[in-house]
């Protein structure tokens, strides 16, 4: 399910899958995953997103607003559990430690990953640094690659560029 949400956001679903996924989004907890992925996505794109608990505060503020014209209410969505905000924070912490590079220049401390895993329904494959290709490989390769010689300092850019490569579970 979470994988399908992730693929939906990446625009990778065909029509049949799209239909199915939209139906699945109505399921318990699915909206949390949806929101969680968007928060992650926003941060990766550099949009700083909203402060923790925004959705709950917004919902409360909206509820307190006098209703002028009330359309038919959809089924009430329960407020996200308190652990949710923390789960997102932990996930983002893991991501920001990695620096989101295609090469794991900075290994995620195992504890950060473990915390992110236990705290959220996001599967391990989705909190893992993308690719997870050891930077040691890249560095060893660059020692011999003619491309390093041609590009000089520019070749280091690849090692640290924010390529935003998405992991494939």
């Amino acid at each position: 399910m979470n994988e399908n949400i992730s693929r939906l956001m990446d625009g990778e679903l065909d029509d049949a899958e799209l239909e199915r996924c939209c139906n699945e989004l109505k399921a318990e907890g699915a909206m949390q995953a949806w929101v969680c992925y968007h928060v992650i996505g926003d941060h990766l794109r550099g949009a700083n997103g909203l402060s923790p608990g925004f959705a709950a505060r917004f919902a409360a503020a909206l509820a307190a607003e006098p209703t002028v014209l009330s359309p038919a209410r959809r089924s009430h969505r329960p407020a996200a559990p308190a652990t949710f905000a923390w789960a997102v924070a932990a996930t983002l912490a893991a991501v920001s430690v990695v620096g989101w590079t295609a090469f794991s220049m900075v290994e995620v401390p195992p504890t950060a990953v473990a915390k992110a895993r236990e705290a959220t329904s996001v599967r391990a494959a989705q909190v893992k640094p993308p690719g997870g290709v050891p930077a040691d490989y890249l560095i060893a390769h660059q020692e011999y690659s003619p491309a390093t010689v041609i590009q000089g300092g520019g070749s280091y850019v690849r090692a640290v560029a924010n390529t935003g490569v998405e992991p494939r579970p």
């Binding site: 930077a135 690659s145 491309a147 000089g152 300092g153 850019v157 560029a161 935003g164």
Partner: protein
């Protein structure tokens, strides 16, 4: 094929260049990157992503210093001095220190490599475009098959410094591009401009000493069954990498312009990620081979690294 057509259309007027000229051009560009003093802003583009870096390079009495600083996105700083490269990640408070052994392959391209270059790429040198305020020579390496990327380089006509580099896929689309938007060549570079911003390393930072030293040249017992034509083995041996209990087999193949590395190591439970990872012009393909993890990494199209990875076997 598409790339070939596009290239042909764009450079119809330019006469083909002899292999020897291309080799000389490569040698000049490689030499310029190492010996000149320069500073400028580099824009790196890969797919829809654009990042900007500040680069400064100093050569003083044959000694090189270089600093690359990210100007957007998370802070990253890379400083090369002597035989060492330091990667600073201030947000994570981590510095990664790697030994760097410099190998300039170009002045020593063998006659066979030059022949290979000419067999698998067509070159053209075109004069007269301005890049970052400099008159640039444009050199195009147009691949003759679909197993390698097309390369287009802009070098400073006066000094040979590479001002812009572009990788193109078989459809003629830009895979990756580096370009100076401004650059001062033969500039006065202050030592401060190439020094790390964190000296000494603050006590609350983690220092990760990388690298396992030199390759021990040896027959690794592994071979590639379907090596793309034009690629020749330039190195084979074992490396000890940090955090890995077993030496890793490392074999490098090159077609004279790019290289593809093959890494083979015993599979451990934590290494489950297989498949393709793309990072700009670098493609990485990992696959399992019995109890081993085979990873192929290089400046070649996805299909090429996959073909190599899937044909790695015990000799």
């Amino acid at each position: 094929m598409g790339a070939a057509v596009l290239f042909a259309a764009a450079w119809l007027a330019a006469p083909p260049v002899l292999a020897q000229d291309a080799a000389q051009w490569l040698a000049r560009v490689a030499q310029a990157a190492r010996t000149l003093n320069y500073t400028g802003t580099v824009v790196y583009q890969s797919g829809p992503r654009v990042e900007t870096f500040r680069l400064a390079h100093l050569n003083e009495g044959g000694q090189e210093w270089e600093k690359l600083l990210s100007l957007d996105g998370p802070a990253r700083e890379i400083v090369r001095s002597g035989g060492e490269v330091r990667y600073y990640f201030p947000d994570a408070k981590i510095v990664r220190i790697e030994p760097r052994t410099f190998r300039n392959v170009f002045p020593s391209l063998s006659a066979e490599q030059i022949k290979n270059l000419a067999q698998y790429y067509a070159f053209r040198i075109v004069a007269g475009e301005r890049i970052a305020g400099h008159t640039a020579d444009i050199v195009v390496f147009e691949p003759k098959d679909g197993l390698r990327y097309g390369h287009k380089f802009w070098s400073d006509a006066a000094t040979g410094l590479l001002l812009k580099a572009r990788l193109l896929n078989e459809k003629g689309e830009v895979v990756e591009q580096f370009a100076f938007t401004d650059v001062a060549v033969n500039a006065k570079i202050d030592k401060d401009m190439v020094k790390p911003s964190w000296v000494p390393v603050p006590p609350d930072w983690q220092v990760k000493q990388g690298g396992g030293g030199e390759v021990v040249l040896n027959d690794t017992g592994w071979a590639v069954g379907k090596l793309p034509p034009g690629f020749a083995k330039i190195m084979e041996g074992f490396r000890t990498l940090r955090g890995k209990p077993n030496p890793v087999a490392h074999i490098v193949y090159s077609d004279g312009l790019v290289a593809v590395s093959v890494f083979v190591e015993p599979l451990t439970v934590t290494q489950t990620q297989v498949g393709l990872t793309q990072a700009g012009g670098l493609n990485v393909f990992s696959t399992r081979n019995d109890a081993f993890l085979v990873t192929v990494l290089g400046e070649a199209p996805p299909a090429t690294v996959r073909q190599i990875a899937q044909s790695v076997s015990r000799k």
